[in-house]
Assembly symmetry: D2
């Protein structure tokens, strides 16, 4: 069982426990400063939100994307999911999916069941989806069981694993065939896109899904998630849902300003900040992963993204936790514990090297 | 996967597929006739409901039981559960529990998650409950996870199995210790009480649980479930919840009249109809079980109640299904299927003997 | 403020306080007796429900009506309304509408606001509907306000008043124009149809509305409401909603048997019981109304249906309430109270005459 | 009917249409800069939130206040209200209350009815509250009607009006007597406290209410509302509700840092920024009010806070709206319109004088 709040309060410690322990990339704060006293329209109908949407659309290569900026991930998930499903429908998710485990029943609070499917590494297969769908929608069980209406996956998953393009295509095909809405939680999407194992692009998500979000909170923004809706059937009146769920930020431009900064491609190398920052996290994570593997330390999941799940001897952990904060993940055996090590856009080179040295010296 | 509607439409077939294929015990219809044109108070505040409550209380040996009559099981479950839980709380249930599988997400529709626990035979153990509770309520996970607020079990279970008195006592102790509301779904409670393996009484349920219901629909009433609330903390204003959920029958006396007939103990042998009818079902079920066992046919669950789950060769089933309707339960192997055979208060002696003969002749 | 439970418990009193104080028409009980031990399919998929639907469809003159039988009015309202509205939509209703006042917030419990419109006599006008719709859906307010999605009216209203055919047509036109679902609560529909002022037919409702229900509970059934859905867009999967709300009666045939009895047209005069019974209530109500008017007693509403609202001197009420039970409605002035007098299918000739005599003797 | 989004997009215009058209007080941005790369605990369990709570508690003079920081007003209202009410309870509000009109049914979406009371100026009286409570909770209506569980008022109201201390005390007394939770929406609380007519303090609110919030979004923060819970009965597990509603900000410190800046009292004059900024808005509003009154222009409400509601000749408005943006409020007559003029913490002296001159020159 994962823990999500095991943060140490001691300031001298180096935190590798989560990817949102800092504020935002300085460029974002600068932009907030520069625009601070401008008077603009509110509720996201300002020029900054407009420009940010255009920048994202351009990256997607799609002019028909309907983009909304929300404050956080749980909020985005519950707003989107509750606006898509009919009252008797549920959402399919891996048993480890964030909506089913760590969002305090927010989906159920909107009236919908999360239909969970077992998984070893956080990923669903198209076969599992088809089987659960068929088990619920057949000639003998139908109206007594929740009707599947949506598939939810996280890319990367809560275990750091990644769906391949082929897997995404297969899930998309099953969803289209069965009339299921396909939604991707991209809280750490940038870290997935920057993975050395990534064979999908953000444009693939626009092509294959009905909706997905491009996470900001964990990727260098103060806060914010960009929800991209591709399925035109739910666009109408979606802002009503945002407002009703308390998710329509009054000073919506704060989100527009941040996403404009993240996706601005007018720099010399034309690489938006969003992707630059993701690369920092992945670079650091891969070096830590290599150090762990060189030391012969097992990894719980085959993760090539910014979350690594090493299994340490408890005695090893005791040593490391004098200087570093990790996220306790699970007791692995009597003598071993698994922890989560996160890197992020903000992870510093010297902290990374200090951790690698410590691992080497175990 | 269970099917719950595989009913054959041909009238000549003998139905063993479910325990509510008929109307009600004739005594109940007689009483409805006798009282039909009386003018009474409505919404269950009539003299018949009053008397029925007194009869049930007397069987429980408790004057402090708060009793409400509702129309059906799903309605009773959703009304009780949603009135007990705080918005962020969920209800623990076996993964096979009726509220989690066959009530179309009715609990989620009221805003609450069903927290499911795997089980081989439909029963939860006190250990499983304690472990799930501890996994959700600890110092690192708490507010990000649904807080367990209630334990739901069925007695007998959806697999025909029964909790022993000791098991009920253990669950009750865990619930009391952890502040969990203990609720028992008694859709087939009478069939459980009449089982040769039953070592608990209806008074034990009143002593050990916070609430339970005494099922009528499957046990000889036209419809109706008697919800018994022992925990005084939720009694206040419970009728508001009944009304809000559309569960306050206008001519509430129809429920009172039926339960009065079921629990009237003024007959010569002083055995209420409810128990007499249950005994009929169990007698027939045990004789069918013996026939199955004598024939060497495996049973999926160790059931000593009115639901039996034999695993037939498909060729055997083909023969039997020329005359009998069963409930398809699951494919057991390439050549074998499991079915559910139900007896009930209405199961006839000659139909039972015809089935036993057919089994013997397989 | 209306009271809805002011029933006197004394058996000798003659009750004119509500129209569901008795059981059912004896013909209904006879049919339940005759069919009692038949084995049928469950959950309303039996031959009785099928035949009852055919009889009702035939009265509507529509083969495309989708008919479902539910147990009670609140249940029917909440199931239909919550299955039609999107999460951010509300239902327009007269401020006196049953769903807004006397159903314990059952619509809000499913997540939807009842948008109320003031009315003197319980009726909405098409103009009021259009104005509220326009006030909510314009270019400046939209996503901050609940979006109207449905119009709910009662026919007859909670004040006994009736919409004319012209008024129904106007409301229907506004609804079609604005994309509002038009739903009619017909808890006492038969009493409306039997009114001397009725200029609409049940076929008009099928033509003009998206859904309406034909009330049984208050019109001679033990319980039951026949929901008629004309709008094909919500038919798909409607049974899921019924089940989820706890409204799918296990022995669904009980509803089919009753509605078959109510709408059977094979009697000598080919007038179904439903209409015969309604005529009894209206005949009695009109004679009481005439007696009241002859005595110079004011009536609160211009009702030509089975509910009459006389305003008595308190001293007059004191005399009458020695023998009769009325429903207290409102204090009219320091010396006068308004009450509701209900007749029903079961109102007896001699009780009616006794009341008329008492009025004459005031 | 009020409009809430009639913002002009032209940049040269001077906006008096709303009080959240700008970013935040520069001191807040400075503090975000200073703390940006610190690593802290997340979800509001950091040292900044802790310090901010201490500062607010100190202003309340209460060590027992339970303080939570949320992002926006609708979110705060729905989270608090849904966590207090039992499923069958509703919240009393003026018909003009923000929760009933401009939050897209967010309260109903959590299952609860807003029970509205008519009001001329946005204020409820203790008498109105008592009467509605008694009308709903009596011996004849109870379980068929929503049970009042809470009183919601805004201070100042949506019309700019203010409750006096005496009025607050009377409402508090009625609430205590009737078991109603008393909740004050303080989206513009600072502007109320700074009003020349204010005779209550923030400590009075802590003494008289069960909960209230100190608005930040409209009063100089980027975003944020400080919810102060005085009633200890709902504190337990309140963070579950925050998380479930998607309202637990991951980088919760952003709220702590802002409220610390707003309530820091270590400046030379020991007057926290929150109160200084409110005074600016009130000073400007009072001068505009005087200009309006001097010109003989009617004011719709007797407002002594930052929102003024002048009734202009349409020809006057045409002139003014060449340079200023107001919020359209209502058509007053064929030739007159009412608008809302807002000042805020950010209203500039020169813009104010320009407006006053324009009024004088009408």
């Amino acid at each position: 069982m994962s823990s999500i709040r095991s943060y140490c309060g001691i300031m001298k410690m180096i935190r590798f426990n989560c990817d949102y322990s800092e504020g935002a990339h300085p460029r974002i704060l600068e932009r907030l400063m520069e625009t601070n006293l401008m008077q603009t329209e509110v509720y996201g109908e300002d020029q900054f939100c407009q420009r940010a949407k255009e920048l994202i659309s351009s990256h997607l290569g799609r002019v028909d994307a309907d983009i909304h900026f929300l404050v956080g991930g749980t909020q985005t998930n519950l707003t989107l999911i509750s606006s898509v499903l009919r009252p008797y429908e549920g959402v399919l998710s891996a048993v480890t999916g964030h909506i089913g485990v760590h969002e305090t029943g927010s989906i159920e609070a909107t009236g919908h069941k999360v239909l969970t499917i077992p998984t070893a590494d956080g990923k669903l297969s198209s076969r599992q989806i088809r089987e659960m769908y068929m088990g619920h929608v057949n000639d003998v069980n139908h109206e007594h069981m929740v009707r599947p209406g949506m598939v939810y996956i996280s890319q990367p998953t809560e275990n750091g694993t990644l769906y391949s393009l082929k897997e995404l295509e297969e899930i998309s095909a099953v969803c289209k065939h069965s009339g299921l809405f396909f939604y991707v939680d991209g809280a750490r999407l940038g870290y997935g896109l920057a993975s050395p194992k990534a064979d999908f692009t953000i444009a693939d998500l626009a092509r294959l899904t009905d909706a997905f979000y491009i996470g900001g909170t964990k990727q260098g923004a103060l806060f914010g998630e960009a929800l991209v809706i591709m399925n035109s059937s739910i666009r109408k009146n979606f802002r009503y849902s945002i407002k009703q769920k308390g998710a329509l930020l009054a000073k919506g431009r704060l989100l527009g300003i941040q996403y404009e900064a993240l996706f601005d491609d007018t720099s010399a190398d034309r690489k938006p900040l969003y992707f630059q920052m993701a690369e920092n996290a992945i670079d650091k994570a891969m070096r830590i992963k290599t150090a762990l593997q060189n030391k012969g330390i097992d990894l719980l999941f085959d993760s090539w993204t910014n979350q690594q799940y090493p299994v340490f001897e408890k005695s090893q952990l005791e040593k490391l936790e004098k200087d570093f904060v990790f996220d306790f993940w699970a007791e692995f055996s009597g003598t071993k514990n698994a922890v989560r090590i996160c890197t992020s856009w903000a992870t510093r080179e010297d902290d990374t090297q200090t951790l690698i040295n410590a691992i080497n010296n175990l």
